[in-house]
């Protein structure tokens, strides 16, 4: 980048007439700017039309009251000001969903990141053939659509024919035949969390183990020679070097898990009971199931604000890291 805007002639040919050079540089940078905007244009247009504009529409919609009638007739829905927001914010059910989604996000992200990091670290210790095998196995899990993984887990935990009950039932003295995993919400959420963690670890472990290759071996060796324990090396050498990547993958995991939809949706057969609702399914059910499009939008807006509020610092960090050269 520096090469383009600071011309190499500056020091090499000081004898060159000043005005002409400035002129040429300016013309070139103008042409560069035009090319740059031209090449960014498709991305700009697509994102403006399909991400930014829907976001704007969503905000507008949340101040209206759009029901099935307006959807069919195409009439402008009546403006209701902040009604949808007060309705959501004074609704105990909504806050229950918020608390549930937040708790799930914290628990699932913590477990996934810790296990992902652990597996990435362990993989440094094993033979490269074993590592390659692990990587390939994890790539397949990572590539498995969330819906497919959820279907597999749904049948694994099936009360009548599931493998899980079959295996647990084998333990002497335990009767798990026909045990239903979703009657007790704690057990149900344990299954959902296991599924999300299981499917989430491969991405974390693969990215983090790529990041671990950036940790200079000499540094770790020097630390070992100086008598640092494995824990000290991890804390004082590996983790600081890994920190930018950890911030990125953790932030992404929070964004993904906070938007949990497919897994609880599929495990509960498209009709999640109230205790299995997350903000995503709740907003979707309100909008499309109950035709309360505006209420669903208000919930979405509140969700985005909540997440941005909590994550602002990390998202900023993440953007900054992306900028570092």
């Amino acid at each position: 980048m520096y090469a383009v805007d600071t011309p190499p002639q500056k020091t090499a040919e000081p004898a060159r007439p000043e005005p002409r050079r400035v002129n040429r540089v300016r013309r070139r940078s103008q042409r560069d700017a035009r090319t740059a905007w031209l090449l960014s244009l498709p991305t700009l247009l697509i994102l403006a039309a399909l991400l930014a504009y829907p976001l704007y529409r969503m905000i507008v919609l949340s101040f209206q009251n759009m029901r099935l009638r307006e959807l069919i007739t195409g009439l402008t829905p009546p403006w209701v000001g902040l009604d949808q927001y007060t309705k959501a914010l004074t609704d105990g059910v909504f806050w229950g969903v918020v608390a549930r989604t937040a708790a799930f996000t914290v628990v699932s992200v913590t477990i996934s990141v810790l296990l992902g990091l652990g597996i990435a670290l362990l993989m440094r210790r094993v033979h490269s053939k074993v590592r390659l095998f692990m990587m390939i196995a994890m790539m397949f899990v990572w590539a498995l659509p969330a819906l497919v993984a959820a279907q597999a887990f749904r049948w694994l935990t099936d009360s009548d024919f599931g493998v899980l009950n079959y295996l647990i039932d084998k333990i002497p003295g335990v009767d798990f035949a026909n045990h239903s995993w979703f009657v007790n919400p704690w057990e149900g959420w344990a299954v959902i969390t296991t599924l999300v963690v299981w499917a989430g670890i491969p991405f974390l472990a693969i990215s983090l183990s790529a990041g671990l290759t950036q940790v200079p071996k000499e540094l770790l060796e020097a630390a070992t020679v100086d008598g640092a324990s494995a824990w000290q090396s991890l804390r004082n050498i590996t983790l600081p070097i890994l920190k930018p990547l950890l911030t990125i993958v953790t932030t992404l995991s929070v964004i993904w898990n906070f938007g949990l939809f497919t897994q609880n949706w599929a495990l509960r057969d498209g009709h999640p009971e109230p205790v299995y609702q997350t903000l995503a399914t709740f907003s979707y059910t309100q909008a499309f199931g109950q035709s309360r499009y505006s209420y669903g939008s208000a919930i979405s807006v509140i969700t985005v604000l909540l997440m941005l509020g909590v994550m602002a610092f990390y998202i900023r960090q993440m953007f900054k890291i992306g900028e570092v050269d």
Partner: protein, 302 residues
């Protein structure tokens, strides 16, 4: 670990016994590492193997109560059933079509934007970068309602064009974020030399930057293929209306069989369909095998 001993020995002379003990500790730790990874490997592969085995079994075999027993015969009849009778073949091809064009579009637009954002200083650079990347902080499901109305107004509901455009839009933020960082890390000297030699922008981009960025481009391509192959909520919201079921993608087809399986009891068809979803990944892996392995083992060589 061997290098540790070699480099450490001359610098810090230590009693042999201590070195030996350390080595044994490392051995034990490595043993534990292998054991823990074995556990994780079983946890990773277990459900996959169970699904694949079940896809070859008849209904009675699935429910016989021996989940990890081999099927009595390996016949692909269930796959044929899934492919034709459950329309999975149609949905599979739809998915391939949408993902192929979606990923190609994402890579084309994303790499162009990331390249100029990373390598050109121009007015509005930061603005564009933050605008593009802020899409990352935006959970997919959020704008489903308005997205539906916008596509409806554009006449793009229930069309592949609409779905592909939406896939591209949702994939672009991460692609630009990742590739911009990648393009920035590439050396400037070659680029400069090309400029001095009078190479055009297009030429510089396709003949110099693209080959240099190959590993990054392949990684993000795979990431996008997987991400778009994975989509369920977006196609459900967009592919609806009259005759939509002929345009469904694979995940929708699977959800449909799954709902029907409850009534018609065609579980092996479901498992065959589930197995089929992994097929493209095997193809992608076969195509990029060399690059993926190089990328994955890069650390080992270092």
């Amino acid at each position: 670990m061997t290098t540790t001993d070699v480099t450490a020995a001359p610098a810090v002379p230590r009693p042999l016994a201590r070195q030996k003990r350390e080595k044994r500790e490392f051995g034990a730790l490595n043993g534990l590492a292998h054991l823990a990874l074995l556990g994780w490997a079983i946890a990773t592969a277990g459900p996959l193997i169970w699904v694949i085995l079940a896809s070859f079994k008849s209904n009675t075999e699935i429910f016989l109560g021996k989940p990890f027993a081999l099927p009595s015969s390996f016949s692909f009849a269930t796959y044929a059933d899934a492919w034709t009778e459950a329309n999975i073949g149609q949905y599979f091809l739809n998915s391939v079509f949408v993902v192929a064009i979606g990923t190609a579009g994402t890579m084309l637009f994303g790499s162009m934007a990331a390249y100029v954002l990373a390598r050109y200083e121009f007015r509005g650079n930061r603005f564009l970068y933050y605008l593009f990347v802020s899409g990352l902080a935006f959970p997919t499901f959020m704008a489903i309602t308005p997205l539906f109305f916008i596509l409806k107004n554009l006449g793009l509901i229930n069309t592949f064009t609409g779905l592909i455009l939406v896939y591209i839009a949702y994939s672009l933020p991460f692609t630009v974020f990742f590739l911009a960082a990648f393009f920035k890390s590439l050396p400037h000297e070659i680029d400069e030399a090309a400029t001095v030699d009078g190479a055009s922008h297009t030429r510089k981009f396709f003949q110099i930057m693209m080959p240099m960025a190959k590993s990054g481009l392949i990684s993000i391509t795979i990431f996008n293929i997987v991400g778009q192959w994975n989509q369920y909520l977006l196609p459900v919201a967009i592919m609806q209306g009259a005759g939509a079921d002929s345009k469904w993608v694979l995940t929708q087809g699977i959800a449909n069989i799954s709902v029907q399986a409850g009534y018609h009891a065609e579980w092996s068809t479901l498992f065959a369909a589930l197995t089929l979803t992994i097929l493209p990944m095997i193809v992608v892996y076969a195509i990029f095998q060399r690059q993926i392995q190089a990328g994955l083992t890069a650390g080992a060589v270092k």
